[in-house]
């Protein structure tokens, strides 16, 4: 299953949007944080987990999703949110903690919720899986269309919630896809040091469901495998577990000195940066001209600029609004 040209264009544009967004956030995040790095300072306080390098996973999967489909994401959710169609301006404003943000500043970067496109997060490892199973169950009981995709990291496969939700999805044959973004590192602990098996996709056998491992951080391969899994779920044939080799080009969070990485690892990863790689491939395949790809990049940059300006110019929430929206 190869994507049509408009899908390829969408995938490239969203990857670039995601990266440019992270580049902008990275720069603004450091405002007010030097010479002394204090996480509480600057226009974007708090932890910041950037998704640079992991864009292929988000676009390869979300290219198959409609707004009605459900996605649960993690503490590192920007690329997934952008690919799912979360409102970029409101998301930027949320990351800045502004009144115009998705939740008016109550959630911040680890808690991106957009009901319009059925996007939710949990900042706790593997805890998006239960809600994804429940959304899938809801569609199954109601006979309504839609699948649920739970994005998790490779470290999440060692959480109890992973086993419970996988088993539940399998025993009830829920329309759910679990996508493991294997970026090789759980903060400073390597997958090798934390995980008894090489490929978490092998765990699918424990639930009697298909499992796929996709090497190479390759958006087209991800598109193909995710497409089959999502179609399978839409046909009512149950869940699939997909593990994808991807790369975290940034630290776990901003301020991470990354001393745990072997020497030269980052250089190797940047050499494999999936965005220039996709550009080169689209040109080599003759599907796109330089000008077409430049246009997509310009469009992406314009969307990011607009979102960042919107966030910067938006007002802070009223402090006392902290006391509202606890209950419906």
């Amino acid at each position: 299953m190869q994507p049509a040209k408009d899908t390829l264009a969408w995938m490239y544009e969203k990857m670039v949007t995601s990266r440019r967004f992270e580049n902008a956030i990275e720069k603004i995040y450091m405002e007010g944080k030097s010479p002394v790095f204090n996480m509480a300072d600057g226009p974007i306080p708090g932890e910041m987990h950037l998704s640079d390098g992991q864009e292929p996973v988000a676009v390869g999967v979300c290219a198959h999703l409609n707004p009605e489909d459900v996605v649960t994401a993690t503490h590192r959710p920007h690329h997934q949110a952008i690919a799912k169609g979360v409102d970029l301006k409101k998301m930027a404003a949320e990351i800045f903690g502004k009144a115009t943000g998705l939740s008016g500043g109550r959630g911040g970067h680890m808690h991106i919720f957009d009901a319009d496109v059925n996007f939710a997060c949990s900042g706790i490892i593997a805890q998006g899986m239960g809600p994804a199973a429940g959304a899938a169950l809801s569609r199954q009981i109601q006979g309504k269309p839609g699948v649920a995709v739970s994005f998790i990291g490779e470290g999440a496969a060692n959480q109890g919630a992973f086993h419970e939700a996988m088993n539940l999805a399998a025993v009830w044959k829920l329309p759910m896809i679990v996508v493991v973004e294997d970026n090789a590192w759980g903060i400073s602990v390597s997958k090798e040091a934390s995980t008894a098996i090489q490929r978490n996709s092998d765990r699918a056998a424990a639930y009697g469901i298909p499992g796929h491992y996709i090497p190479g951080n390759d958006p087209l391969k991800i598109y193909e495998v995710a497409g089959e899994a999502i179609e399978r779920a839409r046909r009512g044939e149950g869940p699939t577990l997909i593990e994808i080799e991807t790369y975290r080009l940034a630290g776990h969070f901003m301020g991470d000195a990354e001393g745990y990485r072997p020497e030269g690892e980052k250089d190797g990863l940047f050499a494999k940066d999936p965005i220039p790689a996709m550009r080169a491939k689209l040109l080599a395949d003759g599907d796109f001209t330089e000008a077409e790809l430049d246009d997509l990049e310009n469009k992406a940059q314009a969307a990011v600029d607009e979102a960042i300006s919107f966030a910067r110019e938006s007002a802070d929430p009223k402090p006392e609004d902290a006391l509202t929206a606890v209950f419906a």
Binding site: G107, D114, A115, A120, G130, P131, A133, I141, E164, F327
Partner: protein
């Protein structure tokens, strides 16, 4: 009245759920042993037979999985009723409860609602030891974003369940095992009361005056209300008039009713089967002392579970539990009556 229909709390809960399932197709029930068995504590009996396996689901023993799933289903437009068989089991699944269920409304700025009911059994007194006997009221009521109710009788049990099922928010519905009307757990006769056939709501967040009195206010919830009522009977024989406040809800807490009662009696005893420190009893006392110290004729007292794990041996557990005699002694002390020899 002689021929009034009386129900146990277990049957009242099941009836409320069934009536709501008949009119609201989004309501479904899941948990461990709630379908075929009808619930270990009887509160889902008859639902499988009427509504079938799609809407009444036995789950794997995976509380994190199915409570998390309830959150996702609730956000997707369903109204799940899930059961955590014993409240003591919250240790294996609390993230789904307090980090997802209770916070997603806030994190979404009110755009995702999480309308679900989490039923869970509480309470000891039958020597089930320290992992199957706790109340943990304070642990749940402390954390923002979820309503918490606990009925003392079948009338309230039905009305609170109906209200919980119609509430757009997550509701923790704590039912005390000693009040369920399951013979094998002992039966508190006072919990088995007249329950109307038709559907009705008991407002969440509204306490009830279970018995009116002038001299001392006894505030409690669930089983503690019955201890309070028995104590009030004994106190009446000794010339002390006790008012018993049945909180029914911990979140929201009906502080007005508590304060009004203490303003009348001037004396306060809180009865709490949950642990003594940092819990409901302290919150009730603070509710009064923060607002109307001048109304108090004596320092408030609390009769709560001591800060120890719940022991197995019958004599040890009974020593620790609240009971009517402890309340009587506290009331006599507060009212200045001599302790009988």
């Amino acid at each position: 009245m002689e021929n009034e229909r009386k129900l146990t709390i277990a049957r009242a809960m099941a009836e409320a759920t069934a009536q709501e399932m008949r009119i609201d197709p989004s309501v479904f029930v899941m948990g461990e042993d709630i379908a075929e068995l009808g619930g270990v504590f009887g509160n889902t009996r008859g639902l499988l037979e009427e509504f079938g396996k799609e809407r009444v689901r036995d789950t794997p023993i995976s509380e994190t999985g199915f409570i998390g799933a309830a959150v996702g289903a609730a956000q997707d437009g369903m109204k799940p009723v899930v059961e955590l068989m014993f409240v003591d089991f919250f240790g294996v699944c609390f993230d789904a409860i307090y980090n997802l269920m209770a916070k997603n409304t806030y994190f979404s700025g009110g755009k995702f609602n999480v309308p679900m009911v989490l039923m869970t059994s509480t309470g000891g007194g039958y020597s089930d030891a320290g992992q199957h006997s706790q109340c943990l009221y304070g642990s749940f009521a402390h954390l923002p974003g979820m309503k918490v109710v606990s009925p003392s009788n079948a009338y309230d049990a039905k009305g609170l369940m109906t209200a919980a099922l119609r509430d757009p928010n997550p509701v923790i519905y704590m039912y005390h095992k000693g009040l369920q009307g399951m013979g094998w757990l002992g039966t508190e006769a006072g919990a088995i009361v007249h329950v109307p056939e038709e559907s009705y709501e008991v407002e969440i967040g509204k306490a009830a005056i279970a018995r009116e009195g002038r001299d001392v206010t006894i505030v409690s919830i669930a089983q503690g209300v019955h201890h309070g009522l028995k104590a009030a009977d004994k106190l009446a024989e000794q010339g002390i008039s006790a008012e018993v406040v049945d909180l029914r809800s911990l979140v929201p807490l009906d502080r007005d009713t508590i304060r009004a009662s203490v303003a009348k009696t001037g004396r306060l005893i809180v009865v709490d089967e949950d642990y003594h420190s940092y819990g409901v009893s302290g919150e009730i006392i603070a509710t009064v002392t923060e607002s109307n110290m001048a109304d108090l004729k004596a320092a408030p007292k609390r009769i709560a579970y001591p800060d120890v794990p719940i022991p197995f041996a019958r004599v040890m557990e009974q020593h620790c539990l609240p009971n009517a005699d402890k309340i009587v002694a506290a009331a006599r002390d507060l009212c200045g009556a001599p302790v009988p020899a």
